[in-house]
Symmetry: C2
Subunit: 338 residues, 2 copies
C-alpha cells in the first residue's frame, strides 16, 4: 500500500517538482500575471500532487499580517452574545478574515489572554466589560485597530452599541401608563454600561412623577439569579419589576408563579433582548439588533485595518436602534388573551 504522505509539502518541494524556483511557485500560485500560462499550470499540477498548502505562519511573517481578527466577549451563554458573535463571524468571514474568539467569562487570566489574542490578529473587537479601559488603551496604543462593542467608549476607539436609555424610558412610561407606581429595577448598573443606560432611562421616566423606583442589583443576569433576586423583591410587592435582561425576567416570572402571583394582574414584569423564550412567556421586552451589532463591528474593524495609515479618521460612534416589544407581562391590556 501507499505510504501516508503526511509531512506537509513546502514551497521548495513544489518548486523542485515543477522544475522552477520558489519565486515562480509563489507567483504561479497567487495567479500573478508575470507567469506563463504554461508554467503556471505546471506549478499548479505539482502543488496539487503534493497537496501543498502554504504555511500560514510563514505567510503571515512575510506579509506582516495575520488575515484574522478577534472578538472578546464576557460569555457565550444565553442567546444574546451568541447572536452578536454570529453576526460578527459571518461578516468578518465574508470580508476574508478568519475569526478568533475569546470568552473571558470565568477566566482568571482574562487580561493576559486578551493580550495574547491581540498578537494573533490584525484587529480586535472588545465586547462589554471584559477587560479594563487601561488594557483597551494599551492595546490600541500599539496601533492595533480596535472596535468596542456594547461598551462605554474609550478615547480614540470606535464604538458600536445598541440604544438603552431612550428605549428604557419609553418602556418605563408604558408601565406608568398601566398605572404601575412602585417599580423595582433588577440589575446592576455598575456591572455593565448597558444596564447603567437602561436604569438611567427608567429613572428618567419616573422623575417628576409620584412613582417610586427601587434598585435591586441581584447576582447576575441569568435565570437563576433572577429567580433568587425575585424572592426578595416580591416580599415588597412592587407593581412592576423592570429587569436588565430577559433571562433575569424569566426567572422573576418563575418566582412569581411559585409565589402564586398572577402576571400581569398582581405583578408586571419586563425584560430586555427579546429572546425566543420571551415570546412564549408573553414577556414584554426590548428588541435589539444583535446580529447587526456584530456585523457592524466587523465591518468597522475591517475598514480600520485596510485604512491608509495617514487617513486615519476620528473615532466613530454608532448607536443602533432598539424597540419596545409589548406583550402580556407588562400589564392588563384591552384585549383578552387566551
Amino acid at each position: 500500500m501507499a505510504m501516508k504522505a503526511l509531512s506537509k509539502a513546502t514551497i521548495y518541494q513544489v518548486a523542485q517538482r515543477a522544475g522552477v524556483s520558489i519565486a515562480t511557485v509563489s507567483r504561479a500560485l497567487r495567479d500573478s500575471d508575470l507567469v506563463t500560462p504554461e508554467t503556471r499550470e505546471r506549478v499548479h499540477a505539482a502543488a496539487r500532487e503534493l497537496q501543498f498548502t502554504p504555511s500560514r505562519p510563514a505567510r503571515s511573517l512575510a506579509e506582516g499580517r495575520h488575515a484574522a481578527n478577534g472578538i472578546v466577549f464576557p460569555d457565550l451563554v444565553g442567546p444574546y452574545y451568541a447572536e452578536v458573535v454570529l453576526g460578527y463571524e459571518a461578516t468578518a468571514g465574508s470580508l476574508g478574515s478568519s475569526v478568533l474568539i475569546l470568552a473571558t467569562n470565568g477566566r482568571p487570566d482574562a487580561e493576559a489572554a486578551v493580550r495574547e489574542l491581540a498578537g494573533r490578529v490584525d484587529g480586535l473587537t472588545v465586547m462589554g466589560r471584559t477587560v479594563g479601559d487601561d488594557v483597551v488603551r494599551g492595546i490600541a496604543s500599539t496601533g492595533l485597530p480596535m472596535v468596542l462593542l456594547a461598551r462605554d467608549p474609550v478615547d480614540g476607539v470606535d464604538t458600536v452599541r445598541a440604544g438603552n436609555t431612550n428605549t428604557a424610558k419609553a418602556l418605563a412610561e408604558h408601565l406608568l401608563g398601566h398605572g404601575h407606581r412602585t417599580i423595582t429595577f433588577l440589575g446592576d448598573p455598575d456591572g455593565s454600561s448597558d444596564v447603567a443606560g437602561r436604569f438611567a432611562g427608567v429613572r428618567a421616566a419616573l422623575a417628576g412623577t409620584d412613582a417610586l423606583l427601587s434598585l435591586v442589583r441581584g447576582n447576575g443576569l441569568d435565570l437563576d439569579s433572577g429567580r433568587t433576586a425575585a424572592r426578595q423583591i416580591l416580599a415588597d410587592r412592587p407593581d412592576a419589576v423592570v429587569c436588565a435582561n430577559d433571562e433575569a425576567a424569566l426567572g422573576v416570572l418563575l418566582a412569581a408563579e411559585e409565589a402564586g402571583l398572577d402576571v400581569p394582574r398582581d405583578l408586571a414584569v419586563t425584560g430586555w433582548d427579546d429572546l425566543l423564550a420571551a415570546r412564549f412567556a408573553g414577556l414584554t421586552t426590548v428588541r435589539q439588533p444583535m446580529r447587526e451589532l456584530g456585523a457592524t463591528a466587523a465591518r468597522w474593524l475591517n475598514r480600520r485595518i485596510n485604512e491608509p495609515p495617514l487617513e486615519n479618521t476620528a473615532a466613530r460612534r454608532r448607536i443602533l436602534a432598539t424597540e419596545v416589544v409589548i406583550r402580556r407581562s407588562c400589564g392588563v391590556h384591552e384585549e383578552v388573551h387566551p
Copy 2:
C-alpha cells in the same frame, strides 16, 4: 519604503537594550533556567519598557505549531450551537489553546474556508454536516488531529455525539402511552445524522404497533420553517407531531394556536434540545449536554495534539447521554396545570 509609525518592538531591540543576544532574550522571556536571575531581570525590564510582545507568526514558524485550534459548525443561530461552541472555547482556552471559529452556514466557499482554517490550527473539530466526508478524510490524511462532533463517524477520526435513537424511542413510547396513534415526524433525516437517529428511534418505537408514522421533511429547523410545515401537517390532523428540534416544535405550537387547536388536547407536540423557550412553552423535549459535547471535543482534540506520534491510538467514539423532559405538550397528564 514607508516608515512604520508604530512598529512593534522585536526581540532584537530588546536584546540591544538589555545588552545581550537575542538567544538570551528568548530564554529569559520563556523562563529558561539557563539564565542568571540577574540578566533575566534585565531582559524583562527591557521588554517591559519596549512593550515587547513576541510575534506570533514568527513563533509559530519556528516552533512548528500554532497554539490554536479550530471548530467548524453549520451555524451559530439558535442556542444549541452556541452552547456547544461555548463549552468548546472554555475548555480549549483552559488548555492553553486559542480558538478559531468558522460558521459554514450560507457560505458558498465552505470547503475552501475549512481548508484554510485547517492551515491555521494544530487541530480541528468539525461539527455536523458542514463539509463532506471527503474533505474530512482529506484533512485528516495530512496528519492534522481532528474530532467530529454531532456527526456521522469517519474512519480513523474521533467522534463525540449525543444519544439520539434510544431517547427518541423512549419519547415515542411515551407518546404511544398517551394514546396517540397517528404521528408525524417533522425533520429531514437526510439533513443531519442527528435527525436521522431521532427518526430511526421513533420508527423503532412504532414498529409492531398499530400506530401510523408519517414523515414531513420541512425546509429547515428554525421557527418559521416549523410554522410553515405545520400548516401542511395540521391539515391531516395527526395526534402528535414529533419535531427534530425545539425551534421547529415551537413553530408548530404557533401554527396550532393560529389554527385554533389546543395543545395537548387536540394535538401533541414534542421537540428536541430543551431550549430555554421550551420550558416556558411547556414543550416536552429532550435535553442534551451541549456544553459537555463541546468540552469533550476540545479535550479529545487536545489529547490528540499532544499525543506522542507513535502511540497513536485507535479512533474513539463517545455518545453522551440525553434524557426526555416531559412537559405539557405531549398529552394530558393526571395533574391539571394552571
